[in-house]
């Protein structure tokens, strides 16, 4: 649960920042690094980050969200931060990638909605 909340906080904050006025900068950045359909992709990424954060908090489809966020981090590392080196470069994205992968492997864990529902239906 701690991993879910930590990852949700980070991605939720960054996703919200994009929607709250940083989208144009992300589009420009995506154009610079030749990400296809930069406008659509920027909106999709921001939606994934905010939506993913909500799902992570609730513990719903945690594995899928973990995989999608891990893919985002792989692309971020490969296209943007790899060239900046490790320190001050891809260290942060690598850490997020690792946590996302850990959630993709472990699933929602304790205090997730599906687990609580399963427990409740098992108890009745």
């Amino acid at each position: 649960m701690l991993l879910r909340l930590a990852l949700a906080a980070v991605f939720g904050a960054y996703g919200y920042a994009k929607w709250a006025g940083g989208m144009d900068r992300i589009v420009g950045l995506f154009m610079t690094v030749h990400i296809p359909f930069p406008n659509i992709t920027a909106h999709a990424v921001a939606t994934l980050e905010v939506g993913g954060a909500v799902l992570l908090v609730l513990g719903i489809v945690t594995r899928l969200v973990g995989i999608l966020l891990a893919i985002e981090m792989v692309v971020a590392i490969a296209t943007v931060v790899w060239r900046q080196g490790f320190v001050g470069g891809y260290a942060f994205e690598l850490t997020l990638l690792t946590v996302a992968l850990a959630l993709a492997v472990a699933g929602g864990g304790a205090f997730s909605i599906p687990l609580l529902v399963r427990r409740r239906s098992g108890a009745t």
Binding site: G15, A91, F92
Partner: protein
């Protein structure tokens, strides 16, 4: 089975934090988390401050239009701190002023590798294309710039329309 998965996941996280955690505290956001690049000055702090001194010197020479001296100062700045995006960008600016366009592009590329959303580098790159007579190249950079800095993009567009790379250009 469940316990094994948790152990595996926990192991991955602990290994990552042990290996990378301390470095992550100085992160700049990057694209992934969503941030985008900002200043990052790795290397020793004394090297970074020395690089800053050469950078300031470069700016002074640049104001006086002493381009070759400015180039020397900026080269020293990026030698001391290869991740100094502003120094790379200003170096490119000076190379453009002395019509060494290939070197200018090389310097801008370094700046943009470090900070892909660096509006000023896109503007200077566009002006370099314009100086070379490549209006299409300048327009490509303009298309990016208008997402990053509307005011700067408008000034660039005036230069493109007038076909004058120096119009509205300040060091």
């Amino acid at each position: 089975m469940r316990q094994m998965r948790y152990t595996l996941a926990g192991g991955i996280v602990i290994a990552a934090l042990a290996a990378f955690g301390p470095a992550a505290f100085g992160h700049d956001g990057g694209m992934g988390g969503g941030g985008g690049g900002t200043d990052s000055n790795p290397g020793t702090s004394s090297q970074a401050s020395a690089a800053r001194i050469y950078f300031n010197q470069g700016e002074e020479y640049s104001k006086k239009k002493s381009w070759s001296l400015a180039i020397q100062a900026y080269l020293e700045a990026v030698r001391l701190d290869p991740k100094f995006a502003e120094a790379w960008n200003n170096l490119g600016f000076c190379y453009r002023k002395v019509k060494q366009y290939d070197k200018a592009f090389g310097a801008y590329k370094q700046a943009l590798d470090l900070k892909p959303d660096y509006a000023n580098a896109h503007e200077y790159m566009a002006r370099t294309y314009l100086a070379m007579g490549d209006k299409d190249g300048a327009m490509r950079e303009y298309e990016i710039l208008k997402h990053l800095d509307v005011k700067m993009a408008a000034e660039l567009m005036q230069a493109i329309q007038a076909n004058d790379s120096d119009l509205g250009d300040e060091s």
